[in-house]
């Protein structure tokens, strides 16, 4: 049975009519046109599908869309504000912290979520926080550097 599901998506109130057991990843990509959220493994192992739900990095490939009813969802398309890149996005560009770029949205949202909870992570905490996001090209060392830089800039900027 289809239902109306209301949630906030990238700062905008959103209402969709869908079956509640539909996968959040496919709803975002195919119904809402937000293709920045990627399919990687379908089982939550790789992190390419990560979005923020109430500021918490979450794997959209294993979540029914009904789970986000009444919640605040941020995808990679909603991270930049007013045409200005989020500090984590900017740091990824500055550090060249990507190659093929396919895991990048999930990486950035995981890092952004981590910094909301812990604005001053140690290098080891950054590594632990990103541990379950997979990158096959091997951009790891630059991603760690980028998140360190972003953390510094976010503290300095506020």
């Amino acid at each position: 049975m289809e239902e109306k599901i209301r949630f906030t998506l990238n700062g905008k109130k959103t209402e969709i009519t869908t079956e509640p057991n539909q996968t959040l990843l496919w709803v975002l990509r195919n119904q809402l046109g937000l293709t920045g959220t990627k399919y990687g493994c379908g089982t939550g192992f790789c992190g390419a599908c990560t979005v923020l739900i109430n500021k918490e990095p979450s794997r959209s490939c294993t979540l029914p869309v009904s789970d986000v009813a009444g919640k605040d969802v941020v995808t990679i398309e909603g991270l930049a504000r007013g045409g200005k890149l989020h500090p984590v996005q900017q740091a990824f560009v500055d550090h060249d912290a990507l190659q093929c770029g396919y895991c990048t949205p999930g990486m950035i949202l995981t890092a952004a979520g981590m910094l909301m909870k812990n604005p001053s992570p140690t290098r080891q905490q950054i590594i632990d926080g990103l541990e379950d996001n997979l990158c096959r090209c091997g951009a790891h060392t630059r991603i760690i550097d980028a998140v360190e830089t972003a953390a510094r800039q976010m503290k300095g900027g506020k």
């Binding site: 195919n30 046109g33 990627k38 089982t43 790789c46 990507l98 190659q99």
Partner: protein
């Protein structure tokens, strides 16, 4: 490029295919100055044989266009999968054409627009495609100078090109932009000779570091990969797959699937696919198909595989030989015999094989995540019986390839399904399909019998390869009596590999370097000579010696006999024309057998380095990815059944594995550019194996060096 090497064919009366493609191309792109090439003339195609045979197109293809607004468009059949040509190729073109880098727009991997290309692999883009592209740019520069000479009525020799303008050296008022010169013109030039590789010094853009030009679209989610393209009426598809390689469908009932709302089931022989515009319902419907299979599988698994390879009746081929092995044995003081094993390894790009196929009338367009757009085009022509000019392949951003996306089955499948369904079809392989249908790095066995004299000089090197591959099997060291023999599949005999194998980043060089450099270390240790000194004693290759000096200095290497307990390991090799030397430092947990690579220092001679930042990133990526085949990656299988089909059971390197990395690129501005996407991965396995030995005295002969295997080796040590 001399003027005599080109022809001008403004109104060719020739009505063949080639002319048609060129004319439709020019029509598509409007006016300006075009430089065309015949790819088989310019590119060294035989050096990079495509996996499938192709009749080469009798066509000129454009390399570049200078448009009326001064934009320079560069067309290449190469694709961007993270390795960086989207940045480095425009750098090369900007220099040759004397135009600001930001004026250059690169169009990649579109078979309607781009010159034919065998595929993006083998670290060939910069070294093979680069010179051809530079020649096209040089030709365009000549045309611009001629046009300006006519306009100003001065000799061309008096003119200079600078920053997108042609200027008169004697009269500063005579200055005209490329765009103004191209305006209202349609000039086509044809290169007919192979460009020479020359003067790589004095560049503005080449040799300087540039960040990935595609970074911003990739951090904002705007970058379009194949799976992100949407067409009106498009449906998602999944294909019914057998449970194992070699299983044959005996009975099938699709009625359950057809009952799922909005589902269409199509069938063509063994191909059965379910379609739905709702992606979740595709999964739901596929699960409702009842299918039974018959099994007729090889009695082979990951444990008995290596014995089977060595015992098989094989085709034997002497790859190279010098001196006399008997004489080598005689003059050796000590002889060493070892056998090394390497398993099947998956490519596992995070983007799975994906394709979108659309028919418009009799014209087929396929968007695909592929390293070989023209290969896929050929495949579609062959398998769907379509004429070449009716098939277009477009390659959006590719989410990692590593050799695995040289195989393009998904593009053929999507096209077949689209034809059956009569609507555009998106086929995105699941992670399980990606592991199951990967063309794995081939497993193999390497046996080495080698000998040294009293001074520690290698006198004998007898090297036998079973079912891997020969890339990187060169001896490197200066050995008077040596032979390399390759044992491979005998035609018409039982298949040794139970599933598809193919090129995995620096194909087979990882296995060969693991075996060779382990054997070198074994001999150095037994001779009581420091492993670096031992290598230098036996090397005459000056590039390799220079790499060793650079890496030893960077690492602060101090000589020691092994095992020293320090956990230092060395390895060197060559790949894609590039020389690599590596020193690693590991810690081994003696209770668990777990290996942590703490530091990797790597030096590489790659000739002229076009984009040092990009090359450095490739080296880092090679090292990080190399840790996977070294420590954890192995396909487990029983018959045709692949057991590890997702990232929980197939472990790839994670953040906590990341070592401290120091990479050095030797300054070689006067040498032609060589490959950079693969070389630094080849030495990781051997260097880590040698470091484990240095730390523990335990020698590992099989990759990956899992904790269990390290513990087992320590018991034997």
């Amino acid at each position: 490029m001399k003027k005599s090497d080109t022809t001008e064919k403004i109104n060719s009366g020739n009505e063949d295919n080639s002319g048609m493609k060129r004319r439709s191309f020019v029509k598509l792109l409007g006016g300006g100055i075009f430089v065309f090439i015949q790819p088989w003339n310019v590119l060294d195609i035989l050096a990079s044989a495509p996996p499938q045979q192709r009749t080469l197109p009798k066509d000129y293809n454009a390399f570049l266009q200078i448009a009326e607004d001064g934009t320079v468009k560069c067309f290449t059949g190469k694709i961007e999968m993270g390795q960086g040509p989207i940045t480095s190729l425009p750098q090369m073109m900007a220099d040759e054409l004397n135009v600001p880098l930001e004026k250059i727009k690169i169009i990649m991997g579109d078979t309607d627009l781009c010159p034919w290309d065998a595929g993006t692999w083998g670290s060939q883009t910069t070294q093979t495609f680069g010179p051809a592209m530079r020649a096209a740019a040089a030709e365009a520069r000549g045309v611009l100078t001629e046009l300006a000479a006519e306009r100003f009525k001065v000799p061309a020799s008096q003119l200079e090109v600078r920053n997108g303008f042609v200027e008169d050296t004697k009269n500063p008022k005579n200055r005209v932009s490329y765009g103004q010169l191209a305006k209202g013109k349609r000039i086509e030039r044809f290169l007919e000779t192979k460009p020479s590789v020359e003067d790589y010094t004095e560049f503005t853009y080449v040799g300087k570091s540039y960040k990935h030009s595609d970074a911003t679209v990739k951090v904002t989610g705007q970058a379009k990969y194949t799976g992100d393209i949407r067409l009106p009426g498009m449906v998602f598809a999944r294909i019914l797959r057998p449970p194992s390689h070699g299983a044959k469908l005996s009975t099938v009932d699709v009625s359950g699937a057809e009952a799922v709302k909005g589902t269409q089931v199509v069938r063509d022989g063994d191909l059965i696919a379910v379609l739905n515009e709702n992606r979740d319902r595709v999964d739901e419907a596929l699960a409702k198909i009842k299918a039974e299979y018959t099994f007729n599988e090889l009695k082979v698994n990951d444990s008995n595989l290596f014995d089977r390879m060595v015992g098989a009746d094989s085709r034997m081929n002497v790859v190279r030989t010098n001196g006399d092995l008997e004489e080598g044995s005689k003059i050796s003081e000590r002889i060493f015999e070892s056998e090394f094993h390497d398993p099947y390894v998956a490519h596992a790009p995070i983007e799975t094989h994906t394709a979108l196929a659309q028919y418009e009338g009799d014209k087929l367009t396929v968007w695909a995540a592929t390293q070989s757009p023209f290969g896929l085009q050929d495949g579609l022509v062959r398998q769907l019986g379509l004429p070449l000019e009716k098939v277009r392949v477009i390659t959006p951003f590719v989410g990692g390839g590593f050799g695995g996306k040289s195989m393009y089955t998904q593009g053929i499948e999507a096209a077949r399904i689209a034809k059956l369904a009569g609507k555009p079809v998106m086929l995105e392989w699941t992670r399980e399909e990606e592991f199951f249908y990967d063309i794995f790095h081939p497993a193999g066995v390497i046996r080495i019998k080698s000998g040294i004299d009293k001074e520690g000089l290698i006198k004998l090197w007898d090297y036998s390869l079973y079912y891997g591959g020969t890339r990187g099997s060169d001896t490197i060291y200066d050995v008077p009596h040596a032979r390399t023999v390759n044992y491979s599949q005998l035609k018409d005999s039982v298949a040794i590999h139970p599933f598809g194998t193919g090129a995995w980043r620096a194909p087979n060089n990882n296995s060969n370097t693991f075996a060779r450099e382990s054997q070198i270390d074994i001999m150095a240790s037994e001779a009581g000579i420091d492993p670096l000194e031992f290598r230098l004693k036996n090397l005459k290759d000056e590039k390799m010696i220079a790499c060793w000096k650079a890496v030893a200095e960077k690492a602060g290497y101090t000589a020691a006999k092994t095992p020293s307990g320090k956990g230092i390991g060395l390895a060197c090799g060559t790949d894609a024309g590039t020389w690599v030397a590596m020193i690693v430092e590991v810690k081994v947990d003696k209770n668990t057998g777990k290996v942590k690579v703490e530091r990797v220092v790597c030096a590489q001679d790659m000739g002229l380095c076009v984009n040092p930042q990009g090359a450095l990133i490739q080296m880092e990526g090679c090292i990080q990815m190399g840790l996977g085949y070294t420590l954890s990656e192995e396909i487990q299988f029983e018959g045709g059944n692949i057991k590890n089909r997702n990232f929980d059971t197939y472990e790839i390197p994670r953040f906590s594995w990341t070592p401290k990395m120091d990479c050095v690129i030797l300054d070689r501005k006067n040498m032609p550019p060589k490959g950079g996407g693969e070389p630094a991965i080849i030495t990781v396995g051997a260097a880590v194996a040698n470091a484990i030995y240095d730390a523990t005295g335990a020698r590992l002969y099989r990759m990956p060096m899992t904790p269990a295997r390290v513990l087992e080796a320590m018991k034997k040590a």
